[in-house]
């Protein structure tokens, strides 16, 4: 190790920003105020997650004894989770949500990439009118009632496609991807063309690999949107076709009964509170799982670059 010590100045992390020389040293009061503000902000953001997770992991008795919530489960129990996963409506809704999210994200990505690529190339036949057509929808959203009637007249009511097709392409995501495709240097297109690649091959072999970060980010945006959507399900689907968020809405926000629907006997029933919180956690966890991956791209500043364009 001692041999390496000579190179130490070079392996200091350059990412660690230091105070510029011209900037005055902050006063202690300022530092303390800033630290306090940050601590309060972090606490306010994370506290609800903590309470919800802790309550879902608690036993009936301790939740009731504490008046409906706990910050730390004193006697951890998975009773609530066992009950909601025992094959009732929550289990089914979870599968619906997963299916809609996976299929929807794939379909949206394919269509968005295709359109974004065509719109990113200069002087494409029909490119200008198409771009105007797309951007105009930003200014004037079509409205809830006609959309509902369109879905209904297409015969999509109570069809899972109704949760995907009407929101297939997001103009925001399209514009983000188009911006990335446009930032691929023109020389690469020329070089690929000289090597005999056609436009499709350029997309697959040059543009897409260079836009991995943007593709990951946009697909995660789509996935989060599909996972979180509940309103479409509430107007298009019967309750045996509901995704998780709509089930959550009905049983947690509207105070419906969930215990009877899980098929479990009332002898070993957990407090509704713990079950509600368990459903909430199940609806949250997938996002918490993909979040670190999203985070990687935020750090790279991908998003700010995208928004500016």
């Amino acid at each position: 190790m001692s041999a390496v010590s000579g190179t130490r100045p070079r392996i200091r992390r350059p990412a660690k920003q230091v105070r510029p020389v011209w900037m005055e040293k902050p006063r202690k009061v300022t530092l303390a105020a800033k630290g306090a503000a940050l601590a309060v902000i972090i606490l306010l953001v994370l506290m609800p997650f903590l309470v919800v997770i802790a309550t879902s992991l608690s036993s009936t008795e301790s939740v009731v004894a504490n008046g409906g919530w706990v910050v730390w489960p004193s006697d951890p129990s998975l009773q609530a989770y066992r009950q909601i996963f025992s094959g009732g409506i929550v289990t089914h809704a979870l599968w619906v949500s997963i299916g809609v999210t996976v299929v929807g994200t794939a379909a949206s990505m394919v269509c968005t990439v295709m359109l974004a690529y065509a719109l990113a190339r200069p002087k494409v036949f029909g490119g200008k009118p198409m771009l105007l057509l797309v951007l105009f929808t930003f200014l004037f959203p079509p409205g809830m009632i006609p959309t509902y009637l369109m879905v209904k007249n297409l015969g999509l009511l109570n069809n899972y496609a109704a949760l995907i097709v009407p929101v297939l392409i997001s103009v925001f995501n399209l514009v983000v991807l188009r911006g990335f495709f446009q930032s691929v240097p023109e020389e690469l297109y020329e070089a690929a063309r000289l090597d005999g690649a056609g436009n499709f091959r350029i997309l697959v072999a040059v543009v897409l690999p260079l836009s991995k970060a943007a593709l990951a980010m946009v697909s995660l945006f789509y996935a989060v949107t599909y996972w979180n959507s509940w309103f479409q399900a509430s107007i298009y689907m019967n309750d045996d076709h509901w995704p998780l968020q709509q089930v959550l809405r009905t049983y947690v926000l509207s105070g419906g009964q969930i215990a009877s629907s899980t098929g479990a006997g009332d002898a070993a029933m957990a407090a509704p509170q713990t079950i509600q919180m368990a459903v909430l956690v199940v609806a949250t966890v997938p996002i918490l799982l993909v979040y670190p991956f999203l985070q990687k791209y935020f750090a790279k500043g991908v998003l700010s670059g995208a928004i500016k364009s």
Partner: protein, 340 residues
């Protein structure tokens, strides 16, 4: 090498390109330097050259035509007495009766007032919050700390409104953490969730919790764009932190602030539909009816489609006018707007 290209050319050669044969001198799609010959291309030639792109656009075109433009056209039912049995074409025209009904409906004006009130509260209390947080984050000299705080505050943005509202109930409800703390300290408890009086501030709090962190992204991007030399020069000239903020930071990010302000004003009528619909049953329509929920209850729940569509169309037109006007004003003030 040209395997995929020829394969796609075959897929792409539908009847539409047949006309291309009439125009001689059209370059082959794989001509090495398409740029030189571009001026000579006639329209059909361009279609032939770009057939792959046209093909790639078709699904998107279909989507936008069906779910945006056809739906937009569907708004004509606002001028009809739409009866599902008679269908879209068969329902009788009623002229502007739906609109006169709408403008004579006190429920609509109530919903409009609620909408503007909530939007106004959000504009005053929510809009500056991400800017303040961004300034705080930007002032941190440790990148590690800043990244950590950023990843924490971005998180709520990815929660659905169902989850946010459920969490708010859990934290602020009569049996929630907040009230337990109050009663534990011997103070009066406040029922925040079921209270119509406190509903509007509550929605602002929820929006701040959910989106304040996410909103910092765009401000942070603008803040990092500011030239460091400006700060350095002014510091050497004796400007303190406050003067540097006032004379360099603020003017530098002014365009982005105005841009976002315009966008907020344009969206004034379409604030948090999901958020408010979720809580409408808890606090009642008196406090929580906004234009969008009005449309939803009249049209989809009540089955009065023509009337609901009229309300929606009215909102859409006013919204578009607001965007247009705000954009115009910002151009007049010498700022760049959302569009030219």
């Amino acid at each position: 090498m040209s395997g995929p290209e020829t394969g796609l050319a075959e897929i792409g050669s539908t009847g539409r390109e047949a006309g291309c044969d009439e125009s001689p001198g059209v370059a082959r799609p794989d001509e090495p330097s398409p740029r030189r010959g571009r001026q000579r291309f006639v329209r059909l030639g361009r279609l032939r050259r770009d057939r792959l792109f046209v093909l790639l656009m078709l699904p998107g075109l279909g989507y936008f035509l069906v779910f945006h433009y056809a739906v937009l056209f569907g708004n004509v039912i606002a001028f009809k007495d739409y009866i599902p049995f008679d269908g879209f074409w068969g329902s009788a025209w009623v002229g502007v009766r739906n609109f006169t009904d709408l403008l004579g409906d006190p429920g609509f004006w109530h919903a409009a007032r609620n909408t503007v009130e909530i939007a106004g509260l959000q504009l005053i209390f929510y809009f500056p919050a991400p800017l303040a947080l961004a300034l705080l984050l930007h002032s941190l000299t440790s990148n590690t700390l800043r990244r950590f705080v950023q990843s924490v505050v971005y998180l709520p943005h990815f929660m659905s409104w169902v989850i946010v509202v459920a969490m708010a109930q859990q934290m602020l409800g009569s049996a929630g953490l907040f009230n337990s703390a109050l009663s534990g300290a011997g103070l009066h408890t406040v029922d925040i969730i079921g209270n119509p009086e406190l509903f509007k501030p509550l929605t602002v709090l929820q929006v701040i919790w959910k989106d304040c962190g996410w909103g910092t992204i765009i401000f942070l991007a603008a803040l990092t764009q500011v030239d460091d030399q400006l700060y350095e020069a002014s510091a050497i000239d004796g400007a303190g932190p406050w003067r540097r903020f006032w004379h360099i930071t603020l003017p530098s990010i002014r365009p982005i602030i105005i841009l976002l302000l315009i966008m907020r004003i344009g969206e004034i009528l379409s604030i948090g539909f999901e958020q408010i619909l979720l809580q409408r049953t808890t606090v009642g329509p008196d406090a929580a009816e906004i234009i969008d929920t009005f449309v939803y209850y009249k049209g989809i729940v009540g089955g009065n489609f023509g009337f609901g569509a009229a309300a929606g169309l009215f909102k859409g037109v006013v919204g578009a006018i607001l965007v247009y006007a705000a954009n115009k004003i910002s151009h007049r003030l010498g700022e760049q707007g959302v569009y030219k």
